[in-house]
Symmetry: D2
Subunit: 257 residues, 4 copies
């Protein structure tokens, strides 16, 4: 039985994590953490009596296997440090850490031979899409990326689209061919080392992404569509199982696949 | 039997037109015109003996019902004027005429109660896509356009994409809502009165176009794909039949549908 | 101000309808009906004091403009009859009425010059898709339909897919060409007068539908995707406004578009 | 310089191969073979003087590195046997060999440490699609396949669709979950160990294939589209280069990727 503490247990993603744990025969929720709550009664959150609720890191005195964190950018570094020090394997979905912070945490965990993962995207379809794009990039010299999100997403392009372009560039080791273009309206998209990125913002979409590779007389398209953020839990569950058998901190779900 | 003269009969599109006529039980090729040829023997072009070949407009002395023109921008205005004067219904696929020239020709034909058509796109799937987009625009306030063409197409966006955006704007009568955006890489596409246009250029595509309409919890997508330019002949054939029963010059195949 | 009674006001769709009414400046919820409730206090349902709650048809003594019904198949006929008798325009989304019942209700409403609508699908994207398919069917002789739904949908094909095939057949007036086929695994789909229908059932989909028309060298695809059933409310809202100006009962949202 | 003999050099695919060789700086066409020709003059086929043309296997006395075969099912086994005996690496695109024949040829080549490949599909996009599907099958328990081909393709499903289903099944090691279904029209597709296959036949398509994987709240789609059979030459070229460094006969282009 894998014993789990959830940081941010009563937030939007945290509640999905708790549900995933309850639905998994080999996982047990042992603790919930959130620094901004006063009520420490598990029943107030619909949780069984034997789950301990904490609002201070220093009070956490449980033995646990896994620390799942979907909290907030300002807290995630200290949370993860705490977990590693206690020998609890971190599974971190909270975004916002600097590259430097990630490096520190990785060294800490690796020194203790402690498994763990920090990932910006736990969506399996997105992670596989990126992985496949890396391979396809070796065989197709030209590619473009289209991402489609709901109208309230302000930043463009999405992190996944940009990451995909970066992985394509790294796989190729050189810039993509540029075709001459007469484009007064700026319709040819954003450029990342020659791979064009196009971002759409429309109601009706949650989060879709596609990479198109073009060659003589053929195209190859890898696309993923998210219709419900519950999808992330499939990746979290996979990560929990995988890091139990690892002895270092991994950055990116694609490294586990 | 509909008697037809083809201007540009031995060019790439002209040859497709000749084939379409030969494959149609109710059409007959009576003449071919091209000002840059010397050889006026129909057999040199694989045509039957009773087809007359001309290299000068003034030599054309045939009675014909239809003048199909897939020639060159610099010649199309004079060709069409000639056809109308002779009472031959023009079916014009050659691009490059100014709005002023089109207006002059329309007045000439309308005054003579002569049917005819000038169209920039004879692809039925593209024309229907534009027509449907006009209707959908009344029910969906937000839309974006993606067009994908082969890597050698230099201009962006395509005429069809821009026309579609124009028709959407006219159907709505107002600019589309703008969402705030943080887009340092310019990935949000070209803007036509709020409708964003995205152009892709990759080998493997011939000419694809899609319009996406987004509303609360749903999207509607109208897309067309061209895999062979022979597709235009379906529209030319339709136009030939339709203009036989018209008594004015029509601009745009969508007006016949 | 359009005064509305909602039948099935506290069901899954009913609650969406109530929210839509509350979000609309020109609509007012005046009553809620459900025969299986005991509690008639509007506050128990989060509704304001001036909304009357009823559990018996005969108790409903309100003046109202519109009766929206998302209840159950066994009740909808009597509900609609009641509304028409009272001079309240019906907007019916509940499925399950026979053709005979629909005919009776239509006659009743038409005799009173009362506007109304009975529709199996209030999704605008689905309704427009069907409408466009009817037009495209006149220009393309061949088409196939693909529908994709969540894994729990037992019946196949979907009502929308079958309706689309029916509308295509009616628009053409004849069966679609059959190509000879060697298909031992039965992969060519279900057949409706020559138009093939393919049904997919996979987690991750809510309700998607696409119609593909194929011609020489080109395809035209009309597709719609539902990511949230809240989408139906756009169609219900449209219907409410439209039937206020009608004097007969309309069957099918496509007739209003 | 890689010296190549092309079997079926003047057929439809053979001519594409010859063009590919001529366009490649490191390849040289040294011979052409076709048992049904009488004219052995290379100029008759638009080939340079130093290319030898043969109509009998036993006459072929050239030193060559590669034997590319796009001929006919009844001849390919003997052709390949001949090539292996002569120490010429076979690159075989001709379909129609039995599993037994393939095994014999593989043993022959392997015993001589001779590189070579027999592949039913040289389309890189199709081969990558199959490869990615194998990986995705490990993470997604449910998938369906759609293939779309021109109306003249009689057999259904396509070899690529069936192969993809087989690879998915092998990757999972067990049958896919079956959902209960009420499907009187047979719209749920053909079944291969639980993975459903849907085949469309419409004008306008050349050869398209897509695999859809569904999970909770997300889908992953890998699709490939062929617009011109010239696309196969990218895979043939890759195969030529790869088998130069191999010492056994490989079955399936995916093994080289």
């Amino acid at each position: 039985m894998i014993k789990i503490i959830v940081s941010g247990f009563n937030g939007s993603m945290g509640q999905k994590v708790v549900k995933m744990i309850n639905d998994s025969a080999d996982m047990q929720l042992v603790g919930g953490f959130n620094p901004v709550i006063n009520d420490l009664d598990p029943k107030s959150y619909g949780l069984p009596d034997d789950v301990k609720i904490f609002s201070k890191l220093e009070d956490i005195n449980l033995k646990a296997d896994i620390w799942i964190d979907f909290s907030i950018p300002s807290a995630v570094f200290d949370n993860t440090k705490f977990a590693i020090e206690k020998g609890i394997r971190p599974v971190i979905g909270t975004s916002g850490m600097s590259e430097e912070q990630t490096t520190i945490l990785k060294k800490m965990a690796d020194d203790k031979n402690l498994g763990g993962i920090i990932a910006s995207n736990f969506g399996l379809s997105a992670v596989l899409m990126m992985k496949f794009a890396q391979t396809a990039a070796k065989y197709f010299k030209e590619s473009e990326i289209i991402e489609k999100h709901h109208e309230d997403k302000i930043d463009a392009p999405s992190g996944t689209a940009l990451n995909t372009a970066r992985l394509i560039y790294e796989a190729r080791g050189n810039d993509q061919i540029q075709h001459s273009s007469d484009d007064p309206m700026n319709t040819r998209g954003g450029d990342y080392h020659g791979t064009k990125i196009h971002a759409l913002r429309l109601p009706g979409f949650v989060a879709d992404e596609e990479v198109i590779f073009g060659g003589i007389g053929e195209t190859l398209t890898i696309s993923q569509s998210t219709t419900d953020r519950q999808s992330f839990m499939t990746g979290v569950k996979l990560a929990v199982h995988e890091v139990m058998g690892k002895n270092q901190l991994i950055v990116g779900l694609e490294k586990l696949i």
